[in-house]
Amino acid sequence: MTRFLIPLGVFVALAFVLAFGVRHSTQNGTIKSPLIGKPVPDFSLPKLEDPKSLVSASDLKGHWYLINVWGVWCATCHEEHPWLMEYQKQGVLPIIGVDWNDQDADARQFLSQQGNPYTHVITDHDGRTAINLGVYAAPESFLVNPAGVVVYKCTGALTKEVWEQEIVPLVHGMAGSGVLCRG
């Protein structure tokens, strides 16, 4: 009898290990951000439309805002763009566009053709702010509370579900569902 019980036990143990791995694995290769619950890294970047004037993290402190890291070269950002236009119309919170590793002329042309959903567009030419934010793919969005703390991060397009079930409730002081956009 033990001849059969031992392999059975081994298989049950293996099933537990695999189940644990599946449940705790990252979703589609998304990396959980160590930034959640921490102050947004300080940045001071030039505006796309007026490179002489800078926007910094301290300028934005005191109210909710959303940082959206994007680039004209990024296909998912193009998909996301019409949604951002719609979110902007709702006036829930300012969206700060960080144009990442891009040419200013390309970004200007894109926004003039497709519309500009951003309260400010700031340019990160050398990618230093993106590294400080732990960005590894575009688009990425960071929700920052009035105290300047990152409360939520979305890797990939900010879909309607994420906007309605995470961003908007969090800004209104309610809990988000927490499962839609990992990282």
């Binding site: 951000s33 160590p34 930034l35 590793n101 050398d126 990618g127 993106a130 590294i131 732990g134 590894y136």
Partner: protein, 149 residues
């Protein structure tokens, strides 16, 4: 053409190829001090290219990997220690950026599992060998007896 000449020609062609490897290296950057250069090479082979996820930043042509290499260079030139650079990276990208996971309670199984597997394997092997030897001992009767029946 004699054999010697062929060998010479092939050797010459191979020599021509040698510098190409250096020219087409993904990361052309070098640091002034050989000690820093060695640490730079070691560190860039330790960090994962977070965009491509299965290569190191030393082997990736992705723009972000280049910017992360620049960060490593700058921190080395500024006199930061290897550990400070590792901490800088994990503070931004988490443990995932480390190709060699750190030893912690959460990752202990990663380090112990191979040893545990080896012990189980050895125990199983010993058991099988013992059983086989026991079988051989039982089967020591002369073969002629089998033939007679």
């Amino acid at each position: 053409m004699s054999t010697l000449n062929v060998i010479r020609a092939v050797a010459f062609l191979l020599l021509l190829l040698a510098p190409a490897a250096a020219v087409y290296a993904i990361d052309p950057a070098t640091l002034p001090d050989p000690k820093l250069e060695a640490r730079y090479l070691a560190l860039t082979h330790e960090f994962r290219c977070v965009t491509c996820q299965n290569t190191t930043i030393a082997d990736s042509q992705v723009e972000l990997a280049g910017q992360l290499r620049r960060q490593v260079r700058e921190m080395l030139m500024a006199g930061k220690s290897d550990q400070q650079i590792r901490d800088y990276m994990t503070a931004r990208y988490g443990d995932f950026i480390l190709f060699r996971p750190r030893f912690a309670a959460r990752t202990a199984w990663l380090w112990f599992a191979p040893g545990v597997m080896l012990i189980i394997g050895v125990l199983v092997a010993v058991r099988i060998v013992r059983q086989r030897t026991a079988l051989v001992a039982d089967d020591n009767e002369p073969i002629e007896e089998d033939l007679r029946t």
